[in-house]
Amino acid sequence: MSQPVELPRWMDVAVLPAVNLAFALLMAGAVVALVGFEPGQVLGLLVKGAFGSKAGISYTLYYATTFVFTGLAVAVAFHGGLFNIGGEGQAIMGGLGAGLVALAFGAHLPAWAMLPLMVLAAGLFGMTWAAVPGALQAWRGSHIVIATIMFNFIAAALLSYLLGHALKEPGNMSPESRAFAASARLPGMHEALAWLGIAWPRTPLNLSLLLAVAAAAGVYLALWKSAPGYALRAFGFAPDAARYAGMRPRRVILASMAASGALAGMVGVNEIAGVHGRLLPDFVAGAGFAGIAVGLIGRNHPAGIVLAALLFGALHQGGSELAFEISGFSRDMVFMLQGLIVLFAGAMAQVAAPGLARAWRLVSLPRGGRHG
């Protein structure tokens, strides 16, 4: 019988992920060396690219913003015992929602009305796109994983269709909508900081960052301080106990998926309202799937997800910088590193736990035993 290993909470939260990350880096270093580069130099450049300049930091944070949203989306569903693979599609729909509202009302409404409306629309569209598979599982027994995967394809196809037909800007060769009115564009961080008198380079980083931080805090409060969050976690851990406690499984599934989808939809705010200012295809670019890894590595806790999103943002940004700096260094190497991190910190997250537990026991036992 494989008894779950009991580690002190601080080790479980801090030491174990660090050890896993170290393993992943070691492994990646070996591969880098094998290909003929200098691991130390590569790592140095990666870190410098991600955090070495204001622009680098901004890009890192911009990527991280998207990952926070999709990571939280995965976590909220996961706490309800559901595996939401549909972050990609829900993010696309979120962008579509924000875009449609912007195209429809952008010319008539001022920014203070327009921007909240776009956030709302992004949330609603993402929510709907996740709620349908949720309802299918709750009432019809179809599996959430399959349904959400399929909904990814439908969302992508729907966006392509709309961009190719109804929303296409006349005279423009590429399948894109026209640019939004100024009131429908979320201010970039450089603009916001300029109001405060701080000079900052122009990057895609925008005010969605604050939204992401608020979302992380909100998810924490909702899951651990609110009654619906209590029901959600009870259901995720022990469906039988939840039923015994009078919770209604179908509603919990639906609510959990709806909240998850709304969070994924926020990606649309970051990308469409914050960066591109128009609807275009492929703006999600796999962030929905990366969210699964972020949720996994962040242990489905908002604080962990913020850290994991930063890590992934840094890898994204540092990786592009690397490809720039070292000739012949392919960006694929960075994807490999990402893969290794997912492998070590996600899939094999508990592999090091027994060893750590043994080490901890050796260290802690001589000093006054253990209780229980």
Binding site: A227, A231, F237, A238, D240, R243, Y244, A245, G246
Partner: protein, 517 residues
């Protein structure tokens, strides 16, 4: 029969097995003559399943020796057991619903690596067996489409096709209709004619009397009776199974003064997905100031009754009235309504239902009551109130350690149970439904829990206790309902509850108060 010269099919001697503090088998000896049907009876926890699991290789004994057909045997796994000619038909069938009967019989013992010749050979083998034994199974049907009796025959055929000469059947009639039972017995008799040795685990004494050649009675991990059927009687077996009445700490508790009916149910029935009636025609009334014990060997409908009353299971037939509220299967009570009507429920499975194991104790301590205004302000949890209440419950119910922040899974079984009971009892419910309230709980905690249940009764609550522990039923109840095969086999005031009467009713040996047939 030449059984006199054949060595014993099974001889087990000095078998010991411990699970932690529980001595499940204590110096057990079992000798089964070849070509006979040997019954093994005992109450839940008597050790009969453990003994059979040792014989079939699921467990290894801590000590003792086993001989199969005269030769010493070491049985490390069920694979060893099968190689020795031992087959087992589990109470819960080990069949794959989506495969045909033929493929199921073959699974794991394919006579050829290619499926087509393997199927051909297996079909021949099974056809021959069916001709010999008179058993009949549609080999091409999917198992999902087979009725229960036929599935069981398939299990028997499966074991025989693997060369079983010794067949263990674990509670084979628990899921069968009377007609299927008769057919099974005919089959088993014909197998005996062929020389197969059969070990029959059951708690139904009548079956033992009609079918077996010899019987071994177990109680508390030990063999208490071992003799030929000709030398026993139904009453003798019942008494041996139950033993002398132990004082369950009833002491001089005053007699109950039953008051108003708080919950009345009639004609409750529930049929499971396989079409087996697990609950049939159950009517009962729970009165204020009374503890009703529901006795019976587990698996005879008590769990279903508990779930139906608590709103976790919607019955197929019946009615229920709680106060002024009426419920029918179309609009059955749900757990939330039940709590609103002050029906509390201590579930049988505290680990799966009663607690959320990864939750902190304080979170588990409000499970089911999280919507109460005391704990809920506009959707936000009032965690301070929850923690304070949890601490108070721990104090009053002596839950150790008294740490509301400890994970629910880290408490011992007894303390988990005390926490669940505290949560359900602390609001002084009108009706408390308690399932196995002291299962796996140490002696001190048992007395404590019993005391609390009595206090609840004395405060005017109606308490229903479902327990497979006879001592518990006798110690607590004012009135005892005995269940057998999903029905109420009899109902007795505690004064008329002799061990003997209970044993007979539990074994389905008679109806103290005949009900509709």
């Amino acid at each position: 029969m030449a059984s006199a010269v054949r060595p014993a099919a099974v001889a087990m001697r000095h078998i010991h097995k411990r699970f932690g503090a529980v001595h499940a088998n204590r110096d057990v000896a079992l000798t089964v003559c070849a070509g006979t049907v040997h019954g093994i009876v005992g109450e839940n926890g008597a050790g009969k399943s453990t003994l059979m699991s040792i014989l079939y290789g699921h467990y290894r004994a801590d000590g003792g020796e086993i001989e199969i057909e005269g030769r010493p045997a070491t049985i490390r796994s069920s694979r060893d057991a099968i190689a020795l000619g031992i087959g087992m038909v589990h109470q819960h069938f080990m069949l794959v619903d989506t495969l045909s009967a033929l493929d199921n019989a073959m699974l794991g013992a394919e006579p050829h690596w290619r499926l087509r010749p393997a199927r051909r050979e297996m079909r021949e083998r099974l056809d021959a067996l069916m001709r010999d034994t008179g058993m009949n199974v549609d080999l091409d049907a999917l198992v999902a489409d087979l009725p229960v009796g036929e599935r069981q025959r398939l299990e028997i055929l499966k074991a025989l096709a693997r060369g079983a000469r010794i067949l263990i059947l674990d509670e084979p009639t628990a899921v069968l209709t009377p007609r299927e039972t008769a057919a099974l017995f005919a089959t088993l008799s014909s197998l005996r004619e062929r020389g197969t040795t059969i070990l029959l685990i059951t708690h139904k004494l009548k079956e033992i009397m009609t079918l077996c050649d010899a019987v071994t009675v177990m109680r508390g991990g030990q063999v208490v009776l071992d003799r030929a059927i000709a030398d026993t009687s139904l009453d003798g077996l019942a008494e041996a199974m139950v033993g002398r009445r132990v004082d369950g700490g009833r002491g001089d508790t005053p007699d109950a003064v039953p008051g108003d009916v708080l919950l009345q149910a009639s004609g409750l029935g529930w049929t499971d997905a396989l079409g087996v009636a697990r609950l049939a025609d159950v009517s009962l009334a729970l009165r204020a100031g009374e503890i009703v014990g529901v006795a019976g060997v587990s698996g005879n409908g008590q769990s279903e009754l508990l779930d139906v009353l608590a709103g976790l299971l919607v019955p197929t037939t019946g009615r229920m009235q709680v106060g002024a509220r009426h419920f029918t299967p179309a609009h059955w009570i749900d757990p939330r309504q039940a709590r609103d009507l002050r029906i509390a429920h201590v579930p049988e499975d505290r680990q799966r239902r009663g607690l959320v194991l990864p939750f902190d104790a304080w979170e588990s301590a409000v499970l089911g009551y999280q919507r109460q205004p005391r704990y809920n302000r506009a959707g936000w949890m009032r965690q301070r109130a929850m923690r304070d209440d949890c601490a108070a419950m721990m104090e009053r119910y002596d839950v150790r350690p008294r740490d509301p922040f400890l994970r629910s899974s880290r408490f011992s079984g007894g303390n988990q149970q005390k926490l669940v009971l505290a949560r359900e009892a602390v609001r002084e419910p009108l009706v408390l439904l308690a399932g196995q309230p002291t299962r796996g709980v140490d002696v001190g905690a048992v007395r404590f829990i019993h005391g609390r249940l009595r206090a609840l009764r004395d405060a005017g609550g109606a308490v229903m206790v479902v327990s497979s522990e006879r001592d518990e039923i006798l110690a607590l109840s004012d009135r005892v309902i005995v269940m057998n095969a999903g029905r109420i086999a009899g109902e007795l005031p505690i004064a008329q509850c002799s061990e003997h009467a209970l044993g007979r009713l539990m074994g389905g040996a008679g109806h103290a108060r005949p009900r509709t047939r």
